[in-house]
């Protein structure tokens, strides 16, 4: 919708990025149609958004939870954004240019954006924000911006990022919290309250005016927002958004059905078929950036230091059955690696084991020659759907004579064991996904990286992954990413990947104009209520 307005105008400036994004759009079939033609948008109305959990922090610098971003996307603008197809689009930055050596990026900023408190948004604001994210102790954005060496204000609407090294994934990081712009005046005045009550702190389509912990958050329309729809009408249409955390899936859905809530973006797999056919609801979905995996401990002394065992497990899994009958209940896609259909580097033909191969797994284990494979599978206690999933995996592995002993532990204990690399066998852990495939891969497979909980190390993979980071040409980058994937998934496996998630958005019938995005975050500025 709104992306159409920009995508032609700036083709030249970010041809690289557009090209980078042509690969990946795929949905799981039925129900993925965008909101049908709904007539001419009308202004006004209040929408209640049932969020899956309470937010932890509304300061983009400190936030560490997915839920936070659902509110942030309405109140803050970031330098760039992403459209439903995964293309990076201009936002507060109207255009940008990467230097020939890849070590500078120059952004040209909008001149009509203002913070909710009335202060101006300009290059100084960008520098202050980026420097705050980069240099504040305890900032959670340092990793996103690690490649940035300094930020220069060229003039009031031009700002230049000087990089330590060419870093292709930087722009994708600026889509999210690392690129969100906060009013310095509000930040300084709010002090410690800024984390949960950053009132009037953004430039976005809605203004945060009320925050009652565990109860609700109120976002009111920003009448001075810069965005316009394709007919030139001012956005947003909605008058008010109330965000209400409702943790339980069943309760949230009941609230949607009874009209207490008009929109939500999280649903249990088992409820999807009913929701898709419910005439009073709109259901949309799009392939997500998230993957599900089993994390072996490959450190010396542990069973899976023998990588052929990891491969045997990967071969023995019946991914179709797991997707259909496991916790996802058919809602998602089977997968073999970390790069999802929503990424530009997605390779639809990468299916190393299109069918479960228990016999092949048996042969591989026999080849190792240390008798039957038996390992401990750590599963979060108290989560019925995870337990069901684990028991199904256990049964599938049994078909290849592999014994997976399920051991339930508190979530916190599993996370700790895994990150300290002390888990005996495997854990079941997913990743919420990042826009750039680098965020789904690098830290998981490169030697010594923070998310490399399997203690995986492969010199060739390290080299390929470093090369792709510096590679400005998307086609070449994709080739490098896929070459590495073949190694760390098949030839010398680091983990067992088995499925991808989908990102749904479910609303009442008369709330239209919202589009599902791979990151699952609703963009309220295009939504409106039919009379």
């Amino acid at each position: 919708m709104r992306s159409a307005r920009y995508s032609l105008a700036f083709v030249a400036a970010f041809a690289i990025l557009l090209a980078a994004c042509t690969g990946g759009q795929q949905t799981t079939g039925g129900g993925a149609s965008p909101t049908p033609a709904a007539g001419k948008p009308v202004y006004g109305g209040t929408v209640t958004f049932g969020l899956e959990n309470d937010v932890s922090d509304l300061d983009p610098m400190r936030s560490g939870l997915f839920v936070d971003r659902n509110i942030m996307y309405a109140m803050y603008d970031s330098l760039v954004r992403v459209d439903p197809k995964g293309n990076i689009i201009p936002w507060l930055a109207e255009k940008w240019e990467t230097g020939s050596d890849g070590k500078t990026v120059t952004f040209t900023l909008r001149k009509d954006a203002k913070f909710h408190d009335g202060t101006t948004f300009d290059a100084d604001a960008v520098k202050w924000n980026i420097d705050r994210y980069r240099t504040t102790q305890g900032s959670r954005r340092t990793a996103d911006l690690a490649a940035v060496d300094s930020v220069n204000v060229v003039d009031s609407s031009t700002v230049r990022f000087n990089l330590k090294l060419a870093f292709a994934p930087l722009l994708a990081a600026l889509v999210d919290r690392a690129g969100m712009m906060v009013s310095k005046a509000v930040h300084d005045a709010a002090g410690a309250d800024f984390t949960l009550k950053p009132f009037k702190a953004g430039t976005g389509p809605f203004i945060l005016t009320e925050a009652v912990k565990n109860d609700h958050y109120t976002l009111e329309k920003n009448p001075n927002w810069w965005g316009k729809d394709k007919d030139g009408n001012k956005l947003p249409y909605l008058e008010k958004i109330i965000v209400r955390p409702i943790v339980d899936d069943d309760v949230r859905l009941t609230n949607l059905r009874t009209g207490n809530v008009q929109v939500m973006n999280d649903i249990a797999g088992k409820d999807v078929p009913a929701v898709k056919t419910d005439p009073s609801l709109n259901y949309q979905e799009v392939g997500a950036l998230a993957f599900n995996s089993m994390v072996p401990n490959e450190a010396p002394g542990f069973i899976f230091s023998e990588h052929r065992y990891v491969k045997a497990v990967a071969m023995a899994l019946d991914r179709d059955e797991l997707l259909q009958k496991g916790s996802q209940q058919g809602v998602g896609l089977v997968g073999w690696g970390p790069i999802t259909p929503a990424h530009f580097a997605w390779d639809p033909n990468f299916k190393p084991w299109p069918k479960a191969d228990p016999e092949g797994a048996k042969r591989l284990i026999a080849e190792v020659g240390r008798g039957p494979l038996k390992f401990e599978l750590l599963v979060q206690s108290g989560s019925a759907s995870t337990l069901q999933q684990a028991q199904l995996i256990q049964d599938q592995l049994k078909r290849a004579d592999i014994t997976a002993d399920i051991k339930t532990q508190l979530f916190n204990d599993i996370v700790t064991l895994q990150q300290q690399k002390k888990h005996l066998g495997m854990t079941l852990v997913g990743w919420s996904g990042r826009l750039d495939p680098d965020g789904n891969t690098y830290d998981f497979v490169v030697t010594g990286s923070p998310n490399n909980d399997s203690s995986y190390s492969n010199a060739k993979v390290d080299e390929l992954m470093k090369q792709q980071r510096a590679e400005p040409d998307p086609a070449k980058r994709k080739a490098l990413l896929l070459e590495a994937q073949q190694i760390y998934v098949v030839d010398d496996p680091s983990r067992v990947w088995y499925s991808f998630e989908i990102s749904p958005i479910i609303s009442v019938k008369n709330l239209v104009g919202l589009e599902a995005h791979p990151d699952r975050i609703p963009r309220f500025h295009t939504g409106w209520l039919q009379k």
Partner: protein, 320 residues
């Protein structure tokens, strides 16, 4: 009396001290590092170290305990790791929901227990008596989470019209009718177990009183049976019932953990149950401590009430 109260309160101090140690040790025994959970997908060691420092988790265990108890003495339960909300605030916020549920359950169980208990004591060994004793035993034996599920099944999916919704909470101030409708099933679930115990207590203490000399005297004086029961028997039999009501604070706190979980009731029990797996120490410590202390205080209160009601009890012979 004052001396007795003072002594009881003084005796509570070492116990409360032991309780704080118990709570702290229990919560900290788990091997997990909560920072890893609250950091979400953040894995930068510098960030994790900063968080650990901010939360005081970089200190040795005894120092953490001392810090906790010191703040505790000033009425500060600390902040939730996850939400950074003050734990005291988180608890007081959820207390109304828990209290509403608990009081409703208490009301149901005490009224029913009195009515049925009196009836079955009067008509001893009758069909009513037999029925009520069997139901009593069944009630104690029924797992509350299963009862909750049966009720949800019945009212939400079998009996048409969804008279009572299967869960969720709406504040009374927001929609009183909806609030009460949603209260029915969890309150019934929570009431059942204590109803059974109450009923048994009412019945047996009435029977006990019936056998006493003053009852015979009252009857011999020619008083009407109804007057005898109300004026003499019931008044005396109520003493242990009062005790029971007090003790039920424990049952309610306990039941809250499970009943609130099944019915998605946003009370303190659910607060703790959701905080356990993620290792939100301050919240778990806070809830367990508050429930233990309120349990201790009500037990004391009931003891005092009991002593006041029944002059035969000596104030001096307490403890060991």
């Amino acid at each position: 009396m004052t001396r007795y109260i003072l002594r009881r309160l003084l005796l509570m101090v070492p116990v409360a001290f032991l309780v704080t140690i118990g709570v702290f040790v229990l919560v900290r025994l788990s091997p997990g590092d909560p920072v890893l959970v609250f950091a979400g997908e953040e894995r930068d060691p510098a960030v994790l170290a900063a968080m650990r420092q901010e939360l005081g988790l970089d200190q040795p265990m005894p120092a953490q305990y001392v810090a906790w108890v010191t703040r505790l003495a000033q009425g500060d339960l600390g902040r939730s790791f996850q939400t950074r909300q003050r734990v005291l605030e988180a608890i007081t916020e959820r207390l109304p929901a828990t209290l509403e549920l608990g009081l409703a359950a208490l009301l149901i169980s005490v009224t029913l227990a009195l009515a049925v208990g009196i009836l079955s004591a009067i008509k001893r060994n009758s069909v009513v008596d037999l029925l009520s004793t069997s139901v009593t035993l069944a009630g104690v034996s029924f797992p509350s989470f299963f009862l909750g599920i049966v009720l949800i099944l019945l009212f939400a999916y079998v009996i048409p019209g969804r008279i009572f919704p299967p869960g969720g909470y709406v504040p009374f101030t927001q929609d009183a009718g909806d609030n009460l409708r949603r209260l029915v099933l969890p309150a019934l679930t929570l009431a059942t177990a204590s109803l059974a115990i109450n009923l048994r207590q009412v019945r047996s203490s009435l029977l006990d009183v019936f056998g006493q000399d003053y009852m015979r005297t009252a009857r011999a004086k020619g008083l009407r049976e109804g007057t005898v029961i109300v004026r003499h028997a019931l008044k005396n039999a109520l003493i242990p019932v009062v005790t029971l009501i007090g003790i039920q604070i424990g049952a309610i706190i306990e039941g809250a953990f499970i009943t609130e979980t099944i019915f998605f009731w946003p009370g303190i029990g659910r607060l703790a149950v959701t905080a356990i797996p993620s290792g939100d120490y301050p919240v778990v410590q806070g809830v367990v401590l508050v429930s233990a202390l309120s349990f201790m205080l009500t037990t004391l209160l009931v003891d005092l009430l009991y002593a006041w009601l029944d002059p035969r009890i000596s104030y001096e012979k307490v403890g060991a």
